[in-house]
Symmetry: C2
Subunit: 303 residues, 2 copies
């Protein structure tokens, strides 16, 4: 399974990056890096183009030994010892921040984790998801993004779309703002309640669905007209993105405290962001329409 997952995330990285360089007029910068404690990764970042302000697509394949604290925080427990503390992890993680404020930011991540030799019950699992963060709300985009992910879920026994949509809304909650980072998507973790092959097939299907879920949205929005006011609102929303990632995101805070490659971890941050004191949006405005769905998540498919 380790090699199958490693091959899959690299193949998906290639597919996505090939598609992105068709859309934008710049190529990515690639950095292959190694981690002192074991393993490494391949980071690809687009910047300076016409479509993306900043876009990164990373894969990593890392292994090593967990501290008992880290194992406990992952649901292991202090009784783990010896080779039980060995771990293997691989995944793909991407964040695309388009320039045009009408085009939403998107994030996706698919990952596989093994503890020890990955043979005991509960010693392996998959996680992942994809979520959409617009500055301006286009309901058809939200419906499309959720429909593609629902279809991927529905093709697999382990794919519980309703549960994963709710998990997404719960996970991307910026508590101090009482709003979510984005309008939804799917999020799941600790997936191992089927055979490893079935779980892998599900995660692969989700990852393969990414381009179908996002490219039509990007195509519709990337060349729309916008004003400096639209751009300023996008910058304020980018500030909220920074707040979520630095204060709450488990991947980011875990990476910052465990000697990860900083530039790959913080690649998720937007190129620019803005914080205005006591910024308010008019009732009835497009900006407020977005805030309403960030405060009260919607079921985009059934509502």
């Amino acid at each position: 399974m380790r090699q199958k997952m490693v091959d899959m995330v690299h193949r998906i990285q290639d597919e996505i990056c090939d598609a992105l360089r068709e859309i934008d007029d710049v190529d990515y910068r690639q950095d292959e890096w190694t981690r002192e404690e074991g393993g490494g990764g391949r980071s690809r970042v687009f910047s300076g183009g016409r479509v993306f302000e900043k876009a990164g697509v990373n894969v990593s394949v890392v292994h090593g030994t967990l501290s008992p604290q880290a194992a406990a925080s992952m649901g292991g427990g202090h009784e783990l010892q010896g080779t039980d503390l060995d771990f293997f992890a691989t995944g793909i993680s991407l964040v695309l921040h388009p320039l045009n404020p009408m085009a939403p930011t998107v994030h996706a991540n698919y990952r596989y984790f093994e503890r020890g030799e990955g043979k005991k019950p509960g010693s392996w699992w998959f996680g992942g998801g994809a979520d959409l963060t617009p500055s301006y709300l286009f309901e058809e985009d939200a419906v499309h993004f959720h429909t593609v992910h629902k279809n991927a879920c529905d093709r697999h026994e382990v794919g519980d779309f309703s549960k994963f949509k709710k998990w997404c809304d719960d996970y991307f909650f910026i508590k101090h703002r009482n709003e979510r980072r984005g309008l939804g998507g799917i999020f799941f973790d600790d997936i191992n309640d089927a055979s490893r092959e079935d779980c892998f097939a599900f995660v692969t299907d989700c990852a393969e669905s990414f381009l179908e879920s996002y490219l039509p949205i990007l195509e519709r929005r990337k060349d729309m007209e916008f004003t400096p006011e639209h751009k300023e609102w996008q910058q304020i929303r980018r500030g909220r993105y920074v707040e979520f990632n630095l204060v709450y995101d488990r991947g980011t805070t875990f990476g910052l405290t465990t000697n990860g490659r900083i530039e790959s971890i913080l690649m998720s941050l937007p190129l620019t962001a803005r914080w205005e004191y006591c910024h308010e949006v008019p009732v009835g405005s497009e900006e407020n329409r977005l805030l309403e769905v960030l405060r009260q998540p919607k079921d985009w498919i059934n509502d």
Copy 2:
């Protein structure tokens, strides 16, 4: 003591804000707010002016009951109970982000805390400090800022300048970047190893020294010429400011998790910030001269 400290922080807020509106061409916006659990504050924010991109000067006077967890995290302990868990806190906190990239950001905070009725040993303390965060290094500014604070320390038995300078360098450490937020200043906490009056006199002297420590620097830098490249580097440094405040700053993270007034807590964030993937500065550049002192703190007075 409670009332003396409350009066002092309000008087200093008035003095500083009066001085700032002499320098900039806009007035502050004032918000008086109350806290459901007890107390409130007075926030004043300058924005849209010619000198400051964003500048806030807050005072707060709050009281309530600590959770046993909060008491323990402050060095109390779970044995505290009943009125021992009552607390009173007041302080002034300011962050000034000038527009001109040659003019440094400055932060200062002076505070008084009481637990229970503040009569038992160790049930009251003062804390505070002031620190300077330039984008471009002017050694004379660093020397001036530290000299004024050293002079304030030297006028008081409790004022241990060398210790407080080191504490500042240690506290404002951005671990994942292996650099400090700024080039120094003073930082102290849990000050109660003299009479309450003597501690109050020390903290008052520091707070009264703020304008003398910063205004001459601002006057020298606020109208200097600069290029778009200088401004971009300032924006990248502002990104680091955001990283420190959201990931490490105890006041910010405490406020975000304890139902503080969000706009007053996050007033410290700059108006705008920037994150470039793998940004590097040339050896021998002015940008690199700054990084060197952020990586290896300097004793500005004796070196």
